[in-house]
Amino acid sequence: MKYLHFFIFLFGVASNSFAQSSFKLDREFDIQPSYTGVQGVEVLKVFVKSKKEKGSLEKAKKNVIQAIIFQGVSGSGSASPFIQVNYLDDKTKEFFNTFFGKKHYLRYVNTANDGSITPGDFKRVGKYFRIGYLLKVEKAQLRAYLEDNGIIRKLGL
């Protein structure tokens, strides 16, 4: 009984470190293709769930990059994902933790219409707001970046 608290503490530390090394996807968003711009660029509308508008644009940017890389967006030019999230090894997980943790993904996503929200895309559902952003993703550059870092294989090789 004396050492029970110590073991619980150890278990907590171990589980916390395990959580840091694992990679978790955010599933609370909807995404739909809007229109295609120039080649290698995807314009997508992302609906995120948030209690306030503040910070939801950054969340939408992260979600759309995750959707392009791990899920694919049906109906757009990126229907198939770059990589399956179930087959990530530790090195890849660490890479994506850094990629999303240090916000390197912001280089490949931007707002399509200077960040304004069109009427009807700001809706309250339950306790949350469902906010839609029109985002532009540099898909070709993102793929090239992942290829250069050895995360995915180059096409045709």
Binding site: E53, K54, I117, T118, P119, F122, K123, R124
Partner: protein
């Protein structure tokens, strides 16, 4: 003639309803400051226009309803052709942004929709001043056209109650003038200095004079001659106003006005049926009316 006027009214109101259907409906672009992409050229927004802020909410049966958050008022309009201190200097590319001030609203979020609110062309209200024997003593009725922020409101002030029983001696005839009610007409400019949600602080500058009716002047106890007075003083006043907007249409306020004498040496009394005369009423009224005075008044305004 009546048919023509009815037809005109039908066309007028139908045009207004069509305009309401195709009115401005856009979203807020930023919160600090509150801006939206509406402009003078595209949407006809002018300073003082009121917009309802709302968002959609899903109902249990699948339909949506609009939830009103509050109101915002156009403070600096976005314009690509007009450049002055009432136009916005916040630009985003080629799209001018209109800057709004919050009116009775707290939690606005970027992305909430705004819709232009149709307002009365004439706003009206009433004031009551506590001080006695000033030009703003007692109850006051006022009306203003297009009670817009930053513009000059046309204010009609009436029923300024002050009375004197001071005997006025003219041609060795002493009369007791009982001046109880009269009206003046003037212009009042209101400039909003600061907004804080429901509260706003405004500066007031105006002038008035030219009484509309002074029927009670000359009604004496010992002389039944009907007379009217023609007073032609002009006064300027200025002060501060603290308003509480419980609603964009209903405003309670307290204001402190200081009245100063601009031109006051031209007081005349004319007699109908009697000898034409002119006397200085001002000197008789000076003991009873403070021409340069500070008056605190409370009021309500409905827009």
């Amino acid at each position: 003639m009546r048919k023509v006027s009815v037809l005109f009214l039908m066309i007028f109101f139908s045009a207004n309803s069509i305009r309401a259907q195709f009115g401005i409906n856009t979203t807020l672009f930023s919160i600090k400051p509150v801006t939206a992409k509406v402009s003078y050229e595209k949407d006809g927004v002018v300073v003082g226009d009121l917009f309802k802020v709302f968002y959609e909410k899903d109902k249990s049966n699948g339909s949506t309803k609009d939830v009103k958050v509050g109101y915002v008022m156009a403070h600096k309009i976005g314009s690509s052709t007009i450049k002055n201190n009432k136009t916005s200097k916040v630009y985003d590319g080629n799209t001018p942004l209109t800057v709004f001030k919050k009116v009775g609203v707290r939690n606005v979020e970027k992305g909430m929709e705004i819709k232009k609110v149709k307002r009365n062309f004439i706003s009206y209200g009433a004031e009551y001043s506590l001080q006695d024997n000033t030009f703003f003593s007692g109850p006051t009725v006022l009306a203003s056209f297009k009670g817009a922020t930053g513009t000059i409101s046309f204010v009609i002030v009436s029923n300024l109650k002050f009375s004197t029983n001071t005997p006025i001696t003219y041609n060795r005839i002493t009369k007791n003038y009982d001046i109880k009610s009269w009206g003046s007409i003037g212009l009042r400019g209101e400039k909003i200095l600061a907004f804080l949600n429901y509260f706003q602080v405004s500066g007031l500058v105006g002038f008035f004079g030219a009484p509309l009716s002074v029927d009670n002047i000359g009604k004496t106890s010992n002389n039944t001659e009907y007379a009217y007075g023609r007073l032609a003083p002009w006064y300027v006043y200025g002060g501060l106003k603290l308003s509480f907007n419980i609603n964009p249409r209903i405003q309670f306020y307290v204001q402190d006005l200081y009245t100063a004498n601009l031109v006051s040496g031209n007081w005349d009394i004319d007699y109908h049926g009697g000898a034409a005369s002119a006397t200085s009423l001002e000197s008789q009224l000076k003991d009873n009316l403070r021409f340069q005075a500070n008056s605190i008044s409370f009021g309500i305004r409905i827009r």
